[in-house]
Amino acid sequence: MTTVVSKDLQLKLNEAIGLSCEISEDAFGVLNMELPVNQIFGVVLFLYRDEEFGFNFLTDICGVHYPQLKGRELCVVYHLQSMQRRCRLRIKVYVPLEKPEIPTLCGIYGSANWMERETYDFYGIQFVGHPNLRRILNMDEMTEFPMRKEFPLEDPNREDKMDYQFGR
């Protein structure tokens, strides 16, 4: 599907906004990019408006929690899509657990609204500027963010599924 060479996009981003990030292409034709928090809005807006690439479609937003990465525990993964160039782009933004703030994309994509609410609901990531950042799937009274790794699904003291019982 990828008809855009990642080099082209990288060159363009370098020239246009002086961005020095690396765009790599994975084995399945999806472009990968990592951005600092303060650049996400500007870069996505540029990609959205750009006539050559035109990433006019936001496929998906989701969060990931990496407790072992200190200072960048929470990750927001954006999947953008360019329909005219038939290309997918995955952007990752890492934020610290103490200050999980990231600018919202609601002003660019209408679809970002609920996806960001879902990410907030599950991970507690604050989307700054979001018009209605409330829980969406869980109940409003809930105080935890259930998809974080410190909330195990089963009773951790349960002993019928320990590793040694399976020879591990």
Partner: protein, 407 residues
């Protein structure tokens, strides 16, 4: 000092009655919402001024559960996303895992999958369009075509033993080959369903009442639809031939000959017509797939011993098979590290699976990109300044499935 006239004008302004908007709860358990979600509508008489939705009533934390399950045991979770077309979800998940594991499936398996997925799409569209008829007051068409959905379920039953939550397929192929009854029933379906569906179309598509209720109802421009992340028939009704089967083929869809129907205005009627047309195209694909499957060597799974479950008969007799069966079911097989995004053309849009594996037995993170969840947020904009009865048909034609919406 105000003049008399100014004072009077201000008086009028001060005593202007507030517009008495009525707050109306459409749902959570209203028969016309087809699922448990609430729409809080502000009504001016019968006109909708604004609306807001509350969802999550059947949220079951699929993504969290998936983090604790080996890959095989996630298939039953996907069944319950869009339960009207469960096999598409199953195949989408298997494709994702196969991509991660690097399993190559034979052509015949691809065609078998295509056949099953298109049957599922037909079943889903039958439900959506016939229920749209019911929501406009035409019960006849629904009772007439619904038996064909049951017939498709009978075909599923022959393939895998289940009807609704099929849990169909395996990583690397199918559990067993299609038996002869599958082909007989599908052939019967291909022969007897088209006249019935033609009759259903005739009943509704030129029906005065149906047209009045659906044309120009809930229309969304192409720009707004793209901005709202529409995919599937809802986007194609706006006039874009965006179909993952064609632009990003999976399961050898590129070998098939089919058209992508598009609409023009993106209103409820167009969505109805696009779904109708898609059924005809799906029937074409099923026919092609059937003839290819029957003429090929009977292989029905990939040659991937470490990931494909051994057949049950061997498990009973062969020690190696028993061990592999146990290891695979208990999730002993570790997946390579990596991340995969796979999207399939679900019956109501792009169904995506974003899987991050850290080399363990379970996914580190699994995210479902559910089409319903993403486009249902456009509902208030689509029904703004329309009547309450229009909201019913718009919601029906969007094909919002509660299981997929809440995940």
């Amino acid at each position: 000092m105000k003049t008399n006239q100014e004072f009077l004008a201000g008086l009028e302004e001060r005593h202007k009655p507030e517009i008495p908007y009525t707050t109306l709860n459409l749902g959570p358990t209203h028969p016309a919402t087809h699922g448990i979600f609430q729409n809080v509508l502000q009504m001016d008489g019968e006109r909708i001024v604004s609306g807001e939705q509350t969802i999550g009533y059947i949220h079951r934390a699929f993504e969290k559960i998936a983090e604790r399950r080996p890959f095989y045991q996630i298939t039953p979770l996907t069944d319950r996303l869009n339960y009207c077309s469960a096999p598409i979800n199953n195949m989408g998940w298997h494709l994702t895992v196969e991509k991660l594991l690097g399993v190559q499936v034979p052509k015949r398996v691809d065609y078998m999958r295509v056949m099953v997925m298109e049957l599922a799409r037909v079943a889903d569209h039958i439900i959506c369009n016939s229920i749209l008829g019911v929501d406009t007051g035409a019960l006849t068409g629904f009772t007439y075509v619904y038996q064909w959905r049951e017939f498709i379920y009978e075909i599923y039953e022959e393939i895998c033993g289940a009807r609704l939550t099929t849990n169909m397929g395996r990583i690397g192929g199918f559990e067993r080959d299609f038996n002869q009854i599958v082909f007989e029933k599908t052939r019967k379906f291909l022969k007897e369903f088209p006249p019935a569906w033609r009759e259903f179309e005739n009943l509704l598509s030129r029906n005065r009442i149906f047209m009045d209720r659906t044309i120009d109802t809930g229309a969304l421009s192409l720009e707004r639809a793209l901005n709202y992340g529409f995919t599937g028939p809802n986007l194609r009704a706006c006039g874009v031939d965006y179909d993952l089967r064609a632009i990003e083929p999976y399961c050898s869809y590129q070998d098939f000959d089919f058209d992508i129907p598009v609409g023009t205005t993106g209103d409820t009627y167009d969505r109805f017509v696009v779904r109708n047309e898609e059924i005809w195209q799906s029937l074409r694909i099923i026919e092609q797939a059937m003839s290819r499957i029957e003429s090929m060597e009977p292989v029905y799974h990939a040659d991937a011993d470490h990931y494909y479950l051994p057949p049950k008969q061997e498990v009973y007799r062969n020690m190696e098979a028993l061990i592999y069966h146990f290891k695979i079911i208990m999730g002993e097989i570790e997946a390579p590290e990596g991340e995969v995004y796979t999207a399939v053309e679900g019956a109501n849009g792009e169904l995506g699976f974003y899987l991050i594996s850290d080399g363990g037995r379970t996914p580190y993170r699994l995210h479902f990109r559910r089409p319903c969840f993403i486009y249902y947020q456009a509902f208030p904009e689509m029904v703004k300044d329309q009547l309450l009865s229009d909201a019913i048909v718009v919601m029906s034609s969007l094909n919002v499935i509660a299981g997929e919406l809440d995940a």
